[in-house]
């Protein structure tokens, strides 16, 4: 058996047992597990090839790329191969822009309806269930000048390397914190990038809190890997620590990085600044589909509420991998398998006993894979200074160019949360739909109000959560009652005029 590739929306079936969104380790594993239990599965991912963030480009990677990116990267081959051998349907370059309960105009409602765009055309499909495995994003890093050309995320440089073999060539500074920071730095240095400094913004106070989890960490795989990476980076470049302020400066483009640390303020002439302060769940699809979420203090982000079987507050929707809270690549793959088994159980393909039997070994490995997490979360929790900008000039919402100062100045109008702020200032209304400002806006409001971010809440996220053109929407099926609702009259009934399906 091998996957059934879908390259146009017209190749899609009307209905699937399971829709999986995202072809990272979580989505691939979920789709594989569910397909192996006999479910009809559609996996949609907006990239050209499977792998997600960590295994991006793995199916096309040369031996040189694999050796440059290391063993963890190459490990993705197994996951991808098993998926490609499954009976699932796979739509590459397909983005899922909405998921909602299916609502037929007549007859009984059941399952979900999803909006999918592929090759310039949109289509609505149905699925009895869905698993959102949409992964993570790099956390916003709002410092003065972070919008200048020449300032990018560290992850973006990794993507350029994985997919196009590009490495930074000018004077490059990597700044931030997080378990991936040193990985990305060592990958780039290993590939010959001209990194002149690594600016480590990890707050000193974190070490004490993290120590409480140190035993688990040392026993986990992360411990060893982390120590090795650190040593490697230290051997090759200057590492600046005890950082209290960071700024990107330049006129129309980056020219220098201004860093304040214990020794004073330094100006480093720089061509490329790569920022990274950890990753946070990619929430837009789960929020837009109505899945409940809550504030996760240790990861300093909102995370969807999921139970041990990856079930969200929406009856037919599960979440797997980093999309449900950061658990790393290995954890995401295992979590995906659990989500796939749970879907097969809920759809009656596995008994509860079969599900538990198959899940038991997966859970055991997952437990040990997650052992080092609390330590990592505590150690690399970015400081308030870099999450909640104090400088009023700092841009918070990049799309609408709303500054931290404007947000604070609007608080006296009685703003309690990000939705009223959005109505007043347009923050979060641009094309990124709040992905790069949502957490910051919530945390500024929480700080101003003196309450926890969970009490402040997050933006109401609207569909479509991925770009879809008006033209694509206009070609979706219409109905007489919809025409009546808009035009007041139906001049030509739909049945005669608008074909209901795309085939």
């Amino acid at each position: 058996m091998s996957v059934h590739p879908v390259s146009a929306v017209s190749d899609l079936e009307e209905i699937y047992d399971l829709l999986v969104v995202g072809a990272g380790p979580a989505g691939l594993s979920a789709a594989t597990a569910a397909a192996e239990c006999g479910l009809s599965v559609l996996l949609c991912d907006d990239n050209g090839s499977p792998g997600g963030q960590i295994y991006r480009g793995i199916t096309e990677a040369s031996a040189a790329t694999k050796s440059r990116l290391g063993k963890d990267y190459a490990a993705g081959e197994g996951i991808v191969t098993r998926f490609l051998a499954s009976s699932a349907s796979y739509a590459a370059r397909a983005s899922v822009w909405s998921i909602a309960p299916h609502e037929p105009e007549t007859g009984e409602a059941s399952g979900l309806e999803a909006g999918v765009s592929l090759a310039g055309a949109a289509r609505l499909i149905r699925a009895r269930r869905a698993i959102l495995a949409t992964g993570a994003l790099e956390r916003p890093f709002p410092i003065p000048g972070w919008t200048l050309p020449g300032v990018m995320t560290a992850g973006s440089a990794q993507i350029a390397m994985k997919t196009a073999g590009l490495v930074p060539s000018g004077r490059t500074v990597i700044a931030g914190t997080g378990p991936l920071l040193y990985l990305l730095a060592s990958q780039l240095i290993g590939a010959g990038a001209s990194v002149i400094a690594v600016i480590d913004t990890t707050p000193n106070g974190n070490k004490r809190r993290a120590l409480a989890h140190a035993i688990d960490f040392v026993r986990s795989a992360y411990g060893l890997k982390g120590a090795r990476l650190l040593a490697q980076v230290h051997r090759h470049v200057r590492v600046i620590r005890n950082v209290t302020a960071l700024e990107a400066a330049g006129n129309g483009g980056l020219s220098e990085v201004v860093v304040t640390h214990r020794g004073g303020t330094e100006r480093l002439p720089t061509d490329l600044l790569l920022l990274h302060q950890g990753i946070v769940p990619n929430l837009n699809l789960s929020l837009a589909s109505g899945c409940a979420s809550g504030w996760n203090e240790r990861q300093a982000t909102f995370t969807p509420t999921v139970d041990e079987w990856c079930q969200t507050s929406m009856p037919d929707i599960g979440i797997a991998g980093d999309a449900g809270g950061i658990i790393g690549a290995e954890g995401s793959a295992l979590h995906g398998t659990l989500a796939g088994l749970a879907a097969a159980w809920r759809l009656g393909r596995l008994s509860e006993r079969e599900r538990d039997e198959r899940a038991a070994p997966v859970r055991a490995i997952l437990r040990s894979a997650l052992r080092g997490r609390p330590f990592i979360d505590e150690l690399f929790r970015p400081s308030d200074d870099f999450r909640i900008p104090a400088n009023p000039e700092t841009i918070v919402c990049r799309c609408e160019e709303v500054t931290a100062g404007a947000i604070r100045a609007t608080m006296p109008l009685g703003v309690r949360g990000p939705n009223q702020m959005k109505a007043y200032l347009r923050c979060g209304m641009g094309p990124c739909q709040g992905r790069l400002c949502g957490l910051t806006v919530t945390e500024i409001i929480a700080q101003e109000r003196g309450v926890a971010p969970g009490e402040v809440g997050y933006y109401n996220v609207r569909t479509p959560i991925k770009p879809v053109t008006l033209k694509e929407l206009a070609a979706l099926p219409q109905s007489d009652s919809a025409i009546k609702a808009v035009a007041g009259i139906v001049e030509k009934p739909v049945s005669a005029n608008h074909p209901q399906s795309h085939v």
Binding site: T469, A474, Q478, A482
Partner: protein, 371 residues
């Protein structure tokens, strides 16, 4: 008794405009509102200041709407002066684009009936065929049948208008209390006491401007605000180059550059999720009107509930049993914002809605009155 004269329940467009109008007249106002995620049509509307076609079956509504459109320039100027926030008002004349001959004919018939009503303040409008429409709106598509144009129509930036009202209120020193949902209202010894999980508060006068929440609150003070379910869906695109310099009944290019589309009416309030067949019809019709927008990415789609009475006309009403209690509800809160801020606030400050506005009392819905 207290240091406040009026409680305004609801801080949406009506509550904010009336509260500001009252504060302007020197009254000490407290606005009680719900929280961040409450339903607020003030954050969900289309932003038209629209005259044409309104008032069929009630000519006073046409006259009332025209009066507000005429007052809008002063409202806009005053808000701008007071707050530095520009509510984005302009009145370049608006078009109702008709895609088919039948749609155009229906529009023409409606305008004829409307303007044929005795005592209506007639206003100018033009019926334009495809060629004439194209001459004024060059971006229209080849299948557009024609349009109806009226020079009185305009639009505003509804979110900046809403912020300007709140900023002006704040500047006047009025208290705005979010997270103060009113659960109960009582009336004793000439004072109104509102109550919620947050506590209680009293004043001698109360204005109910709680949008769809009014229906539940009104009977507590001898008022009646019947509303019917009406769901409207709106599509917003990314910013694009300016191509549309007039408001169209169902499409507008906002001053920030995005295009906003919406004209659906569904008799339901079941949920806030967009319905895809309605999205498809909205998008399809908008593209037939202006083909160029087909390439634009859609940034968000939402559905909102209108605050609409059974006959579609506003309610301005004072309580007979609890003197000092008022209720206001209407669908076109942007269009009528100037009337609310100036005229209605003035009447409430005087303590009496005059007989000239009695046509907007909700007594018209009383079963006994109809019988």
């Amino acid at each position: 008794m207290t240091d406040r004269d009026v409680l305004v329940v609801g801080g949406g467009l009506l509550g904010a405009s009336i509260a500001w109008g009252l504060a302007r007249l020197g009254l000490r106002v407290v606005v009680l509102d719900e929280g961040d995620t409450a339903f607020r049509a003030a954050r969900a509307n289309f932003g038209l200041v629209w005259v044409q076609g309104k008032g069929l079956g009630k000519l006073e509504y046409s006259n009332w709407t025209q009066a507000s459109a005429a007052l809008w320039p002063s409202l806009s100027d005053e808000l701008k002066r007071e707050t530095g926030i520009d509510p984005g008002f302009s009145q370049p004349g608006g078009f109702s684009i008709r895609l088919t001959e039948l749609e155009l004919q229906r529009g023409v018939d409606a305008m004829n009936t409307l303007q044929g009503q005795p005592n209506i303040a007639r206003y100018p409008y033009e019926i334009l065929n495809h060629r004439e429409t194209k001459a004024r709106l060059p971006a229209i598509g080849p299948t557009v049948a024609g349009s109806i144009y009226s020079p009185l129509d305009g639009h505003a930036n509804p979110l900046r208008l809403y912020r300007a009202f709140h900023a002006a209120l704040h500047k006047m020193g009025a208290a705005y209390l979010p997270d103060h949902r009113v659960e109960r209202i009582s009336h004793q010894d000439g004072a109104f006491t509102v109550e919620g999980p947050w506590g209680t508060m009293s004043a001698g006068r109360i204005v109910l401007a709680a949008g769809i929440g009014n229906t539940r609150l009104a009977p507590m003070v001898g008022l009646n605000v019947p509303l019917v379910p009406s769901r409207g869906q709106i599509i917003v695109t990314e910013k694009t180059m300016p191509f549309l310099h007039h408001p169209v009944g169902n499409i507008r290019q906002v001053d920030e550059g995005g295009v906003i589309i919406g004209e659906s009416k569904e008799a339901t309030m079941d949920h806030h999720r967009p319905r895809t067949p309605v999205t498809a019809v909205l998008a399809d019709r908008a593209m037939r009107m202006f083909p160029i927008i087909g390439e634009l990415n859609v940034v968000r789609i939402w559905a909102a509930f209108r605050i609409i009475t059974p006959d579609g006309f506003p309610i301005y009403e004072q309580s007979r049993t609890c003197r000092g209690a008022f209720a206001v509800a209407c669908h076109s809160g942007v269009t009528l914002a100037a009337n609310h801020a100036f005229t209605i606030a003035g009447h409430i400050a005087q303590g009496e809605i005059p007989a000239s506005l009695s046509t907007f009392s909700s007594e018209r819905f009383d079963v006994s009155a109809a019988a």
